[in-house]
């Protein structure tokens, strides 16, 4: 399935969760994965969602990358 994280579309396995999308996003952007736990994620309407939250095809989420 296809999920958009910030401005990047990612291809993920069916059944992926927000945490999986963050892992892929951090991988492709070569960011430090240890920061993932500190990332607050918002859905397209701006609500905070958990890293455990399920995703659906074409879902758009946003996250702010914390600075070291």
């Amino acid at each position: 399935m296809r999920v958009k994280v910030n401005r990047r579309w990612l291809q993920l396995f069916e059944g992926a969760r927000v945490g999986n999308a963050l892992l892929r996003y951090f991988t492709v952007r070569k960011l430090d994965k240890q920061l993932i736990d500190k990332v607050e994620v918002h859905d397209a309407l701006g609500h905070v969602i958990d890293h455990d939250a399920p995703l659906h095809n074409e879902e758009i989420i946003r996250c702010l990358i914390p600075k070291l």
């Binding site: 993920l12 396995f13 992926a16 991988t27 609500h47 905070v48 958990d50 455990d52 939250a53």
Partner: protein
Amino acid sequence: MLNSKVMKKYFYLLLALLLPLGIQAERKEVHIVSVNDMHAYLKAAPMLADVVDSLRTLYPGLLVFSAGDNRTGDPLNDMYEIPAYPMVALMNQIGFDATTLGNHEFDSNPQGLARLIGLSSFTYICANCHPDPSLRMHLVPSKVFDVGGVKVGVVGAVQLGSHGYPDSHPDNMKGLSFTPVNETVAQYEWLRQQCDVVILLSHNGYENDVETTALFPWLDLIIGGHTHTQLEGGEMHNGILVTQNANGLKKVTHITLVVDGGKVVEKRAENIDVRCRKGRNGTATELVRYFCNNPAFERVLTQVEEPFTSYEELGCMMADAFVAETASDLGFVNFGGVRYDEHPAGPFTVSDVLRLDPFNNDAVVMELTGEEFRQMLVSCFENDEFKLPFVSGVQYEVKRDSADPHKLKKLTVKTLDGKKFDLKRKYWVVTNSYVASIVDSPRQDQGQSINRHTADLMIGYLEKQPSINYSGVRRVFEVK
């Protein structure tokens, strides 16, 4: 005559004073504590019980509802002798009135769910799940609660994935059929005629709940779950209050509905923090302590003939378990997914499995060509701290770049008997959801979660083996 006029005046004055009081007496409040997606966060149950106890002291008719996914998230709960019973016991003790089914309620097959429902002292409300009568699963599509004379009608519904059933393992759906949420909820408009308050207990996700508000204006409230969306109290959409919280009992919602003349005239919702609460219910605390010291975790799954002495031996065992339990051709696990490197000869227990694989990763199955599989191994190395993954069904050789050991010059996959591996053939490959996320090599099939934890695959595999011996097993070879 004058006296009679004065009396009349006083009568009307008294009537004018008492009339608003009479109206006031007809206004009634319904108080609800709602939770969603608790995901077996057992440690917060004593705090939740304290919230409910406190509110129940103020509002004796308090209703306590869950919008589903009460289980799945803590092995202490999910791998209990009766899977997920600890959470049910705690919900009984807290005094829940009802829950709907979340997709994870199906995680221990229909028989397991039917058994859990039988052990629950609260009602399971789900209108769009239709169990075969042979399962004896006591679900109700709707229920009317009487709260001090106010009739509160509740209808429940669970989300359906693109395949037409809730997101759980397909084997868990045997004997169950499902109907679309909105099509089903539409059939319960009659609750509006019979009740003062109508609530949809929905495990259908925030966005779908908002869409539902446009379809069914006769609802007063949607208590939502599934997407773990943290709302600030609640949101009004098309005149319907929608609530939902993040998972794991971080917060609950206290909902107040003011009913006047058979209609809801006011709706309020506020979040209450749970985990940081100081107050704890004593009985719930003792129950959690009991469940955390569960002897079932010392259950022996198999006997280890000769000790495990390396990450690779344990990694190969893990990958073999993935392959065997999913009937795949090949499997692999990242180096970091194997959490210890030695285990003595003798019993291998459930606790040993959970220490070896504590991440709650799901198993992901994908159909790959041999070349795509080979590229996944390379990408796993590059994105898992330059450590080589462990495999099942094949072996492989690597040659590192002498100038940069973080680069592989060559990775050659071979069959287990050392023959040429067909790179063009398609194979079913299983790995964990962490690997499926970090590996970004090009492939046609990104895979599908089978909604089973990899630790669960290992338990399933090991309990079928009278004994295991991985001493000296090697499938990854470095050549210079």
